[in-house]
Symmetry: C2
Subunit: 324 residues, 2 copies
């Protein structure tokens, strides 16, 4: 049995959406264990007629706290307990929609890095129409060295193989021009190293390529990755909203036709529909869900955490990093 620990207290809509998402995942065969303030959870669960195992974790980490310090000082916070369960093999994977900083700290301090990994990285699956793209680093490492980008490329390739079923994923380096000599010293040196790395490197790609089907894995530092991810998310939402405003100006019959023609466009463009980001390079499957995760996002995050554990994501990443 592959049991997934859910940080029931993490996220803007905790614990309610977490409980409802967990319940739906359980109905789809995911073995979920809830981690959090047991009396509070039990109260909600009784109301909602949800029956799932609970591990008591009474301490709370607030957004204002320094994450590393909070993890050290609060061993009984829900995120610390989840990480300890993964480390001890009591859970095969963990999911949290709480503070990303706290999840990173818990993974680094309690679970630890996989052998040979220089820096764990957050990989987001970006919903490019046609073919999704793995973007990393999405914010764990605002400043990186060229050799970190090479490891991100390797780990991102494994994720694309394991999750997206790609054979030999194309890896691009995010840059301000396509020619090999472009960019900062970071990109110039990373380009050289990526050419020699055990991946399918296709060269530099530009910001506009993110919306095109040019590559399967896109590597950059965590500052650029985070900003680009949020800018793209904001732009897609803004354009979609303007189009919806236009639709509101049509008569009812036309509105229905246009909505039908658009289908699930908004959903396809919503990167939350992929359920969460993967923290790669640590010795356990860790899925970081969006802070504003709905029940559906929580269900998806639990499913991809289960898939990661089932498909041996951690051992495959460690094996590939070990060989590089």
């Amino acid at each position: 049995v592959i049991r997934i620990a859910l940080d029931a207290m993490g996220g803007d809509f905790a614990p309610l959406e977490n409980l409802l998402g967990a319940s739906a995942a359980a109905a789809h065969g995911v073995d979920v264990i809830l981690v959090g303030d047991e009396p509070r959870l039990k109260l909600h669960m009784a109301d909602l007629s949800i029956d799932l195992p609970v591990v008591h974790a009474p301490e709370e980490i607030t957004m204002a706290e320094d994450p590393s310090r909070a993890i050290r000082e609060k061993p009984n916070s829900s995120i610390s307990v989840c990480a300890r369960m993964v480390r001890e093999g009591e859970a095969a994977a963990m999911v949290s929609a709480g503070s990303t900083g706290a999840a990173l700290a818990a993974a680094a301090i309690i679970i630890g890095r996989s052998p040979g990994v220089l820096r764990p990285t957050i990989a987001t699956i970006f919903p490019t129409p046609g073919s999704p793209t793995v973007l990393l680093d999405s914010g764990a490492n605002p400043e990186v060295k060229p050799e970190h980008l090479v490891q991100f490329a390797i780990m991102g390739s494994v994720l694309a193989e394991v999750y997206l079923g790609m054979d030999s994923p194309r890896v691009g380096l995010l840059n301000i021009g396509e020619e090999p000599g472009k960019g900062r010293p970071l990109e110039k040196e990373a380009y050289r190293l990526l050419e020699a790395a055990p991946i399918r490197f296709i060269g530099n790609v530009e910001g506009r390529d993110l919306a095109a089907d040019r590559m399967d894995v896109l590597v950059t530092d965590g500052f650029t990755g985070n900003v680009v991810l949020k800018a793209t998310e904001g732009t897609a939402a803004m354009v979609t909203a303007l189009v919806m405003e236009a639709i509101e100006r049509l008569d009812p019959g036309e509105q229905a036709s246009m909505k039908a023609a658009m289908g699930n466009l908004a959903e396809r463009l919503d990167y939350e529909s992929t359920g969460g980001a993967h923290l790669l390079g640590v010795a356990g499957v860790v899925v970081i869900a969006h802070g504003s995760s709905s029940r559906l996002a929580v269900t998806n995050a639990l499913r991809i955490a289960r898939d990661g554990a089932e498909r041996g994501l951690v051992s495959k990443v460690a094996e590939r990093i070990g060989r590089s």
Copy 2:
């Protein structure tokens, strides 16, 4: 008379779109002088019945050349001649849709920086619905220091005042979180300096704020700015294309209704409609048009160049930098 020099040979559709754009600008009262290969230009101009003054510039700079070297070695390239005309006062401003690197080099080497300016910067007017945003640096300086970001904030504020008619533009620092301590050492130190600078600093803003009306001026390094600009452009174009595909599935009457309801949405989202980016911090008005500029983009670029010269953009930037 405010005369604007147009690099007639620059851009993907040179010289044809440049000539047509110049002709339309001239019809709207812009005093344009064409700079380029005179025999070739005259041939096209005769075909198109365009009658504008021409300055002969026989040399050509290719995209493969090192820009600074090319500017030094080819004093009779169209971009070099344009810059020399601005320096000598024979033109009040210049416009080029050619290589951005060559335009930067020509401006820096031939026109020179304004007194006190540490780094000239490319400012793009970003078509945020509701209220446009000045984004800088858009690619001139891939790596910057905190004091450069402060000057970008000051220069961008002047641009917002001069072009967008804003009284006290709100300046945001692009970052990976809103709290003051977020980001790289660059952002942490820049935050401190921006709080003390003679601008209206509103703090850190995130990637998703680019699509919202939260600030009027957004400062970042040229690597992040370039990537974000292109990613946002690509995303807006991609979503617009998906919506247009959906519209094609409607019956003809519904298509017409939806297109009417959308109005000029695609155009409003197209940052080329603003005509080009401003190179700020040099001792002359320099407008860098998109490489793929159509005649309309060229016309718009010539008009904003004329506006910049008329409104004293260069002296206002120099004065504000001098006071800071």
